[in-house]
């Protein structure tokens, strides 16, 4: 079982990593990109056809459906044209594209700076408010239970299989337990991991979040990024970053403008976008750009206007100082004679 051992080693070894310390006035706070693991074959979520029959399986199925077709919540909880799977690629299963299996294991996550703990469902609420420019469903809503159930199933099914327990069903959990996430003592890991993995290692499952990307040789440049965009991105995402709708169905995500994520979303940070782009774009032919190109095009994309930060207070300068003082983004900064955020599209288009 060399692969299993490698996984165990990776997860246990990760317990020595430094914890994130970032100001966190929001729930879209930054998770440090991870050094890329050499071999990620250790973990494969189960097939959708293996979701169990019955009420618990129905929650998982609903979670998948919401994940790949979030637009069914348009106007209710979703205020733009995005779907969860636009960033969490392969329906939340792709390593280093913010996979839901690794995220599920990481929550609840404790934050030293404000002494606050967010559980998994609360973190997903953050996605609705910022990434989806919408309004989060209630913590115990069928939607959040379903997305939590689907994420849990991705994790637990993959773990059971990794330890040779392919014939075992994913254990059912209560709605309350599903909302919590996997980073609590009551959440038992299967097989040899039972009682072995320290809680503070659960936030570092290899493949989590995004892969670390080398710092660029030159400071990221929106002007250079515009050329990268034109050459490599515009055909799919549109010359104005508007994405693409087919037969009235949003298919390719909008990258800026009224239909994209708002100024409070984690993806608005240049470093987050650069790591995502470098590792995952163009879809189907990843790692196509140089690191410098990825940084430049991330700077270009994230220096266009988008929906306002829903935490907007008083004015752009105050909002920037309160919520964006330490982030690697363009909110409140001047570019080409205009302050980013001052011409933002309306925040939260759902009532």
């Amino acid at each position: 079982m060399p692969i299993n051992k490698a996984w165990l080693f990776l997860l246990l070894a990760a317990s020595g990593f430094a914890r994130a310390e970032v100001p966190m006035a929001d729930m879209q706070d930054e998770i440090p990109a991870q050094p890329k693991a050499a071999n990620l074959d250790y973990f494969k979520p189960r097939e959708l056809s293996e979701i169990p029959k019955g009420a618990f399986g129905d929650k998982i199925r609903k979670g998948y459906q919401l994940f790949v077709n979030s637009q069914q919540l348009s106007g209710q909880y979703v205020g733009n044209q995005l779907n969860c799977t636009n960033c969490h690629l392969d329906a939340g299963s792709k390593a280093y594209a913010a996979p839901m299996w690794a995220a599920y294991l990481a929550y609840p996550e404790f934050r030293k700076k404000n002494n606050r703990i967010s559980n998994f469902a609360e973190r997903v609420q953050g996605c609705f408010n910022f990434s989806m420019n919408g309004k989060a469903p209630a913590i115990d809503s069928p939607e959040l239970v379903a997305i939590s159930a689907y994420s849990y199933w991705l994790l637990m099914g993959g773990l059971l299989d990794a330890f040779g327990m392919q014939d075992q069903p994913v254990p059912e959990m209560s709605d309350k337990a599903l909302q919590e996430g996997g980073n609590v003592a009551s959440f038992k890991l299967p097989g040899p991991l039972t009682d072995k993995v320290k809680l503070d290692a659960r936030g570092h499952m290899p493949g989590r979040a995004f892969a670390a990307l080398d710092k660029p040789a030159q400071a990221p440049s929106p002007a250079r990024g515009a050329k990268v965009y034109e050459q490599h991105c515009a055909l799919c995402h549109g010359s104005e970053g508007q994405g693409r709708v087919m037969a009235d169905v949003p298919v390719i995500p909008a990258l800026w403008g009224a239909q994209s994520y708002n100024w409070g979303a984690g993806m608005h940070r240049v470093n987050t976008a650069a790591t995502f782009i470098f590792e995952n774009m163009p879809l189907g032919k990843a790692v196509q750009l140089t690191p410098q190109q990825a940084w430049d095009v991330a700077a270009y994309m994230n220096s266009r206007e988008r929906p306002q930060d829903p935490r907007f207070t008083k004015d752009v300068a105050t909002t920037a100082k309160t919520f964006h003082a330490d982030d690697n983004g363009y909110y409140g900064k001047e570019l080409d004679g205009s302050v980013l955020g001052s011409q933002a599209f309306p925040a939260t288009r759902v009532k």
Partner: protein, 198 residues
């Protein structure tokens, strides 16, 4: 040019005699003999109905530049130098055909074969869902061709052409890269599946 005029005259004659019930704009008539009066495709050429003007125009340019290879089509493409006429023809074919019943991602979870590849991809081979670019029920849009209802033999030939680098022209060779990962059996299954979407 005389040769093209001759072809056009022949086609006009053909139309008057055999397809007078259909009002094909003059600009599109040179396409009819191979692609059909409604762009439905014939044994000589693929379906054009429902493809976007943007996509078809790019293909004409590819036939002229040699990124796509077909002796007859290159000749025809070179004859479409008047961009105004070309756009009229493309606009006509883009409007033909009927939209298939839409199946969105997530509507069906238990899938296998080509349908699964289309809606879920294969993460273990870094194959994205075809849906990600070709959309619900393969309707296509913008630079992405409609695949729904296209001839199976044509779809198969194109995927093989991408694999063998006989077809190119997309940025970063993304489609060629994806096609190179497909097995022969998957290409056949996808071609059959997509052609059956009505």
């Amino acid at each position: 040019m005389n040769k093209h005029l001759a072809i056009s005259s022949l086609l006009t004659l053909f139309l008057v005699n055999h397809a007078s019930a259909v009002e094909v704009p003059e600009a599109a008539q040179s396409c009819v003999v191979c692609h059909g009066a409604q762009g439905q495709g014939t044994s000589q050429g693929p379906k054009l109905a429902g493809l976007t003007s943007l996509y078809m125009n790019a293909q004409i340019e590819h036939f002229i530049s040699g990124e796509r290879k077909n002796v007859v089509m290159t000749l025809m493409a070179e004859s479409l130098v008047d961009l105004n006429v070309r756009q009229q023809a493309l606009a006509y074919y883009a409007e033909q055909g009927t939209a298939p019943e839409l199946q969105k991602r997530g509507d069906t979870l238990v899938q296998s074969g080509a349908e699964k590849l289309y809606y879920q991809g294969d993460p273990h081979r870094s194959l994205p869902a075809c849906y990600s670019c070709h959309g619900p029920s393969a309707v296509g849009g913008g630079p992405f061709p409609r695949l729904a209802g296209q001839q199976s033999s044509y779809l198969k030939d194109q995927l093989v052409a991408w694999q063998k680098k006989q077809r190119s022209g997309d940025p970063d060779n993304t489609m060629g890269h994806i096609a190179s990962k497909l097995k022969d059996s998957e290409i056949q299954a996808l071609a059959d599946y997509l052609s059956a979407i009505q």
